[in-house]
């Protein structure tokens, strides 16, 4: 078997695609698919970001007329949907997952390249109904990205509860199928296609994190697929899974009987909470890789990192109820979920301190990628710590559905995850396109983003404590929120700063694609396997044999070694030292 892996380079790699279409559009090549995913999700990020700017303008100057009350609800709902399902998940799992997994484990492609291509195109198809819902009567859904029934189940309940809601459900269903295709591929690939010597304990943390995120996606998404199916039936076939009897809408008795709205919330959050970790685990992994690389130190406590990610993965399935403390859930469940939620703080703390210990006595190079990684630690801490307030069921009574929550999850799964994406793009751009990105523009992007993100989301904690609740089009009805008008203006100005930073990033991407200096094969002097390929890697990734792996992924500054890094593929004889792992 071993011979098969190493000596049959072409048993698996298909012929080089020739035409433009088979090379760049319907490509089977995981690298092309990864880049396609990234570009598509960055495009979606532009839409989601523009919506965010509209929302923020409205909240800073409620009478500016940028949005109306109904289009405001549509904007927040679509902003959430787009950012979570169509930007963060596909960019991290689809983009970096596709690009990095085979390169990092020494495979020539994914296990099922056709399914891989199908996964990307299913994702593209799922975008169509979503964007189409902007143009239907009533507009897109208006119940927030969670789409709780009965608001989302009853057509007359809100302007977006008509066709827009149907299109949303359709879009999400297709997206979940796309994600299923992806997960099947990643899991099979990581389990079976690692090159000789690449044991689980030698996998780079990026691969570990993508592996765990894929498991989470695989197991959590089907449940909400079922839940969405039932919601669709409630809407179009007159079933009553979620809508109880005796409701009145606009003077009319609603023709539903015997449903339970809590059921949807449970099914939704059974997906919704693991989804948070699907979005934050890959950035954790990528940041671990870059921190070790640019601090020239082994990642501190590699095994503890893996175990804590596994713990986060398992716990993420047991805590969905903390989104529902005050929804009418049985109080006994509140206690159970509260205990398990706070338990997640432990692996998170371990990870944070491990990153800090990695920096301690390092030899830090401040590349743009490293700046974003350090920013990630800061944002993750600032956002993650407030989770302790919210996980505490009693405090959640005061804070649920306020801007405290918005600040919390935006810092963790918005800002930190975004920083993970930027870290990854700046770090692997040379491998993707063979050119370096512009460092100066990168630094401008970083400064605007970090200051902007802090300025946007940190004050939201204060808004939340002060009592501002979420999804309101204008706060002028409430005196205690109006007293905080100044904070809202500060937030909006900061938000525009992020957006401008994003534009700088977009310009940097385009500029670097054509003008960036050419990159060497291993420009960052990194140890992991993707840097042993030519840049950019050809079809089939390695010319000749895939190099075998001889050590763990983070052998930097090993005492006695010639260089300050020993790549995984260098034999012990050549390296001159025998490494521990």
């Amino acid at each position: 078997m071993a011979t098969a892996t190493a000596a049959h380079p072409d048993a698996h790699a298909h012929e080089d695609p020739q035409s433009f279409v088979s090379k760049y559009i319907f490509s089977y090549d995981h690298k092309v698919i990864g880049v396609q995913y990234l570009i598509t999700s960055l495009f979606m990020m532009l839409i989601g970001g523009a919506l965010a700017m509209a929302i923020r303008t409205q909240l800073a100057w409620p009478n500016s007329g940028v949005l109306k009350a109904d289009s405001y609800l549509a904007a927040i709902s679509m902003h959430g949907t787009i950012m979570i399902f169509f930007v963060l998940t596909p960019a991290l799992i689809g983009g970096f997952g596709n690009f990095l997994i085979p390169l990092k484990i020494g495979a020539r492609d994914m296990a099922f390249p056709f399914i891989n291509m199908l996964s990307y195109w299913t994702y593209v198809v799922s975008i169509i109904p979503l964007l189409a819902s902007f143009f239907v009567p009533g507009g897109p859904l208006s119940g927030g990205w969670t789409a709780y029934p009965p608001l989302s189940a009853l057509r007359g309940a809100a302007p977006g509860s008509g066709l827009g809601q149907d299109l949303w459900l359709l879009s999400i269903a297709i997206f979940l199928i796309s994600s299923l295709f992806g997960s099947l591929n990643y899991l099979t690939t990581i389990l079976q296609m690692r090159v000789r010597g690449m044991t689980f304990w030698r996998l780079p943390l990026t691969v570990w994190s993508l592996f765990i995120a894929s498991v989470l996606a695989l197991l959590s998404f089907p449940v909400v697929t079922g839940g969405a199916l039932l919601l669709l039936l409630d809407r179009i076939a007159g079933t009553s899974f979620y809508v109880p009897a005796g409701l009145f809408l606009g003077g009319q008795l609603v023709d539903h009987k015997g449903g339970n709205p809590l059921l949807y919330q449970h099914l939704f959050w059974f997906m919704g909470h693991p989804e948070v970790y699907i979005v934050i685990l890959p950035p954790m992994g990528m940041v671990s890789d870059t921190l070790a690389n640019f601090a020239r130190k082994p990642i501190f406590g590699y095994k503890a990192m893996v175990v804590s990610m596994l713990a986060i993965g398992v716990l993420s399935f047991l805590v969905w109820g903390h989104h529902m403390y005050v929804t009418g859930m049985h109080p006994m469940l509140g206690t159970a979920f509260a205990a398990m939620t706070l338990a997640i703080a432990i692996p998170s703390a371990v990870k944070t301190f491990n990153w800090m210990a990695t920096l301690w006595r390092g030899k830090i190079y401040f590349s743009t990628s490293m700046l974003f990684s350090i920013g990630f630690i800061s944002l993750f801490t600032a956002g993650g710590l407030t989770g302790i307030f919210l996980g505490n069921a009693a405090l959640d009574i005061a804070l649920h559905n306020t801007y405290f929550v918005i600040g919390h999850f935006h810092l963790v799964m918005g800002a930190a995850a975004l920083f993970g994406i930027f870290t990854g793009v700046y770090y692997w751009f040379p491998k993707m396109f063979g050119r370096m990105m512009h460092e100066g523009m990168g630094r401008v992007h970083f400064w605007l983003s970090l200051i902007g993100l802090y300025g946007t989301f940190f004050p939201m904690y204060i808004l939340g404590i002060g009592g501002m609740h979420r999804r309101i089009f204008s706060f002028e009805a409430f005196g205690y929120i109006t007293r905080m008008h100044d904070i809202n203006i500060v937030i909006t100005i900061s938000a525009f700063m992020i957006f401008i930073g994003g534009l700088v990033f977009a310009y940097n991407l385009i500029w670097s694609l054509t003008h960036g200096p050419n990159s060497a094969d291993n420009p960052w002097r990194a140890t992991t396997l993707e840097w042993s390929t030519p840049t950019p890697p050809p079809h089939g990734n390695w010319v000749g044999e895939v190099p075998a792996v001889h050590r763990g992924a983070y052998e930097y500054s090993v005492p006695g070694a010639k260089d300050d890094y020993i790549p995984q593929w260098v034999t012990p004889q050549k390296a001159g030292v025998v490494t521990e792992h």
Partner: protein, 284 residues
């Protein structure tokens, strides 16, 4: 390896600006929280259990604040101190240390254990139903307004039944419903435990009174309950905390905390359900 290959030597070397930025976040963060405590903090408290929520909030704030400061102080320091200092300097090879790792597994673990025990105890306290002498009121929400139903003279709310095809599903056949009072004003009695039944006419709303630190969804089809004891008379804002449609942003209500005597006089002047059903005042 040639210099041209090594991009590492081309990137920025100094971490001073980044470290200062991280420290400034730490300082600005702390100052802004301290400043906000005086101006934009929780609304002045008007309920009994709220005091405990506020206290627990402060405890966690101190803990997490210390953590935030610790991480950022170290992070800023590391970034400034451990920058690359040319070819001669070398990073310290330090792949793992079991004692250190266990320390920061167990310490947060203990802290979380303590916090979750304290939180769960408080949570159970808040959810313990008040005794039979509690003030009972049914707060009702619809798109986009508030009202209330009071039990009337018999002290018992008429039962609700989802199969009754009427707004809020009050079963008028139930004798207890005859003297119920329905009014757009929401009033509760000061220093008396309130058992609030929450009922929605249509979609999910949320009964959110910031001054009481009280929040509970009004779940369609269910009479959710929430308990609190108001401690100060006055008028407090109710907000609908959960998105419920276009008018969500303006769905503001008011809850008046009055003395028992004031409430008794007021409630006697209101029409009962039976009155409303027979406007000429015939049946009583």
């Amino acid at each position: 390896m040639s210099q041209a290959d090594n991009q590492l030597e081309r990137v920025q070397r100094s971490g001073l600006s980044l470290g200062l930025l991280i420290w400034s976040f730490m300082i600005v963060g702390v100052i802004s929280i301290l400043y906000a405590r005086d101006r934009w903090w929780f609304l002045p408290l008007a309920s009994q259990h709220g005091a405990e929520i506020d206290r627990m909030f402060d405890i966690i704030l101190v803990l997490t604040g210390a953590m935030f400061i610790l991480v950022h102080a170290l992070l800023g320091y590391f970034v400034i101190q451990y920058r690359s200092r040319g070819a001669a300097s070398k990073a310290h090879y330090f792949p793992h240390n079991v004692v250190l790792e266990l320390t920061y597994t167990i310490l947060p673990g203990l802290a979380m254990l303590g916090l979750s025990v304290a939180g769960i105890l408080l949570w159970s306290n808040i959810h313990r139903p008040p005794g039979p002498d509690a003030f009972v009121v049914e707060v009702r929400a619809e798109q986009f307004g508030w009202s209330a139903r009071y039990p009337g003279a018999d002290g018992v709310l008429g039962r609700t039944d989802n199969d009754v095809a009427e707004p809020y599903n009050v079963d008028r056949k139930d004798p207890a419903s005859r003297d119920d009072v329905v009014n757009s004003e929401i009033r509760v009695v000061v220093n008396r435990p309130v058992r609030t039944l929450l009922r929605t006419r249509d979609v999910i709303h949320e009964f959110y009174v910031p001054a009481f630190r009280t929040k509970r969804y009004m779940l369609s089809g269910v009479s959710n309950e929430t308990y609190f004891t108001p401690t100060r008379t006055g008028t407090y804002d109710i907000a609908c905390g959960f998105v419920c449609g276009v008018g969500h942003y303006a769905m503001r209500g008011q809850i008046q905390v009055v003395t028992q005597a004031e409430f008794d006089t007021w409630v006697k002047q209101q029409k009962t359900l039976a009155d409303a059903a027979a406007p000429r005042g015939a049946a009583r």
